[in-house]
Amino acid sequence: MHVSIQQLNKSFGPVRANQDITIAFAAGQIHGVLGENGAGKSTLMKLLSGVYKPDSGQIFINGTAVTLGTPRLAVQIGIGMVGQDPLDVPVFNVLENIACGLQMPNDAEVRQQIIHWSTTLGFPLHPDQRMRDLTVGQRQQVEIVRLLIAGSDVLILDEPTTGITAAQVDALFAALRTIVATGKTVLFVTHKLDEIVALCDTVTVLRAGQIVGTQLAMPISKETMLTAMFGEFATHAQVPAKPIPTADPRWQLSDTMLHDATFVLGPLNLSLPKGMIIGLAGLEGSGQRLFMQHLAGIARPDRGQIHFDGVPITRANPTAAWLPADRLHEGIIGAMSLREHVLLLRDSLLAPQQTAHEKAAQLIADYAIKATPDMPLQQLSGGNQQRAMLALIPESAQGILLEHPTRGLDAVSAMAIWQRLQVRRDNGATVLFFSADLSEVMQYSDAVLVFFGGHVSRLLAHDTLSEEALAALIGGVGFAEVSA
């Protein structure tokens, strides 16, 4: 089945998640869709699978314009999507889980189909297994079999290798090749370059909601793909890079192992100096968030210790401020005003004799926030929420950790945020940030830490790095030489 898209647009409020997407996916091939998180991949796939409706533009199946109103309709037309987290009913067995959404007369037929597809694709599935006893990889296999039985000609897989074993990745890749050999089409969404190289026939790169260039036939070099993902590296006026002092560090990690449900990072031995802006470079999901949460004291390391100004971190510490990307969920309390936030943080924000209202008004003036002291922060624009979050960092904070500090902000707001952070740096604070925009990392960092494959590089001074070298390190090329 041949799928093509003409001039597709989708916005969420002011964010243009997909802009003028025009592309065609030929039948019988595996098409890679590559981009950083937030590039618009998931939005595009949800438009194709009927989860979202486009604002404008059209989708053609075999040359005929179609309207994919709901996922159910999309499946009937022949497009099925395997989500990042497989959605199924844990107490059902494989047969029940597959049969419940199908319009098939009897279970015997479904059972036979399950056995047929499992055998063809080499999946070790049995119709009577309980879903809750299966691994994430097996549940994904059930999902693929379900969509094939439902008659899908186009399979969309969104980051399918997250959380499954290496053997299951191999099985998945083999199965996908078998599927396209029957004339079906596979769209494979990922931010991992190795998978594109290993599996795909073509690759389409998305950046900031738009397709970069055109669909490219594989093989393509990793460097070319990285350039497409992160953009041509603009040459910036050289920031006078500071020498990297190692004595008296702000953060000190000694033989530290960090982990969460899906990721292990370390062992880490690092000294992060005072008065420096440090960019965390790496593909998204390489452990940067985990790293920051530990430096902020929100999570505990498995092994080893993290010292902040010479003291072991034991709990969340207002002098090491963490600013998450998900502002309204983790960062601020949307229903509360700036004045109420000042009150919550009064111990570190309020001067003696100063009222919260005065302080909030002062922060609004200092940080040019478009708000009143009593306006709930959820009514502010993203840029103003970010300024508010920044304004709420106490002057005493010596460590500032930012996730995507300028995501969703216009250029003027972004510049204003960076000016503030540079002032903090000049006053001695250590600023750590990560950004999907590699040119932002290059422009504002005094030094860079590269995250790759569960490891972190040593601290690399800005002036020792070219953009090309950094892009290569992010893709793992030459990483071993700089690994700490």
Binding site: A296, I298, A316, N317, P318, W322, P324, H329, E330, G331, I332, I333, G334, A335, M336, E340, H341, L343, L344, L345, R346, L392
Partner: protein
């Protein structure tokens, strides 16, 4: 100003819808709708004894609802309120059983109320503990502890504290007359309970709306993640808010024992805690409206008692109306994209 207007408009419309649906139900039942609403809304206010009966319901209802605004503010759905009320009654009874003729009565009253508050708080903290450390939803933990509390009361009534001779569902041996809270002449109403309810309303209002502690509690309820990030001691505040709610419920239970039942009955809570939940669902963490809504619920519940005699309508219509109001408001909030509660 605009948001305040919208905040008021929704409950008014929802109330109208609920009244209209109730009217249709009454019509279908062949009742005189106007007369029925007259009794429902005014019946509780016609005679002094009816007013006093209404206040006897309102006082413990207000105590429970006030407590629940504190737990709601912390984002906790404290369905264990009935159990907390019950153990409050049990603890009060335990203290009162030490009374001997001639002891200073006031000590026993104060002690009973304090014991009730303490035990209610402990009962609520058990729920919070299960939630924090065992990841049991406070809704199910609370419901479970309600049954445990009821079981405890039943065990005491039929076991160790049973009446000499024959144990009875009607309760333990009545308290000594001296321990009964004084009532207004000609009624069963004691003024102490409504006064304490209003005092607790003032305290909780002040705590939640006008203290740093209350700000932190509300922050936890609105976004636990963001509160932790900003250094709010979220676990502690959640426990404290739950304990405050349990203390209010326990106080209500204790006062029911010394002011109304004058013995330990198995069903100390008698649905008042659940009605308090309906009130709290309506006002959420906004303490300002608690007294008004509780008053309204008490009026229609008390008024409905006259319906069978006056109009041959079953009194359960008051429950239907209350349920419809809560439902209508929750639907209205959901349509506006707010959290249901």
């Amino acid at each position: 100003m605009k948001t305040q207007f919208v905040a008021l408009r929704t409950p008014v419309i929802a109330m109208g819808v609920a009244l209209a649906v109730t009217a249709v139900l009454l019509l279908l039942a062949g009742a005189d709708v106007l007369a029925a609403f007259g009794v429902l809304l005014g019946g509780a206010l016609t005679t002094p004894s009816r007013i006093s009966d209404m206040l006897m319901l309102l006082a413990p209802l207000l105590l429970c609802a006030v407590g629940l605004t504190a737990s709601f503010a912390a984002g906790q759905y404290n369905l264990g309120i009935e159990g907390q009320m019950t153990v409050g009654g049990v603890a009060a009874m335990w203290w009162l059983r030490g009374y001997q003729d001639g002891s200073p009565v006031i000590l026993y009253w104060i002690g009973a109320v304090l014991c009730g508050m303490l035990m209610g708080a402990v009962w609520a903290m058990l729920v919070a503990l299960l939630k924090r450390y065992m990841h049991v939803s406070e809704i199910f933990a609370g419901l479970g502890f309600n049954f445990v509390a009821l079981g405890l009361a039943l065990y005491l009534v039929f076991g160790p504290w049973k009446r000499p001779g024959v144990a009875s569902m009607s309760g333990t041996e009545p308290l000594a007359d001296a321990l009964w809270l004084p009532t207004l002449t000609g009624t069963r109403l004691t003024l102490i309970t409504p006064i304490l309810a209003i005092v607790m309303l003032a305290i909780v209002w002040r705590l939640i709306r006008h203290t740093h502690w209350g700000l932190q509690v509300r922050a936890c309820g609105l976004s636990a993640l963001a509160s932790v990030r900003m250094g709010v001691p979220a676990t502690r505040r959640t426990f404290e808010a739950m304990a405050l709610c349990g203390a209010c419920a326990g106080m209500a239970g204790a006062l029911q024992i010394i002011g109304v039942y004058h013995s330990l009955v198995p069903n100390v809570a008698s649905g008042i805690g659940l009605m308090g939940l309906l009130v709290a669902l309506l006002v959420r963490a906004d303490v300002r409206w608690v007294a008004l809504v509780a008053f309204f619920f008490a009026i229609i519940t008390s008024g409905s008692i006259q319906l069978p005699l006056a109009l041959s309508i079953d009194s359960s219509i008051s429950g239907v109306l209350q349920g419809l109001i809560v439902l209508a408001i929750i639907v209205a909030r959901a349509r506006r994209g707010e959290d249901a509660a």
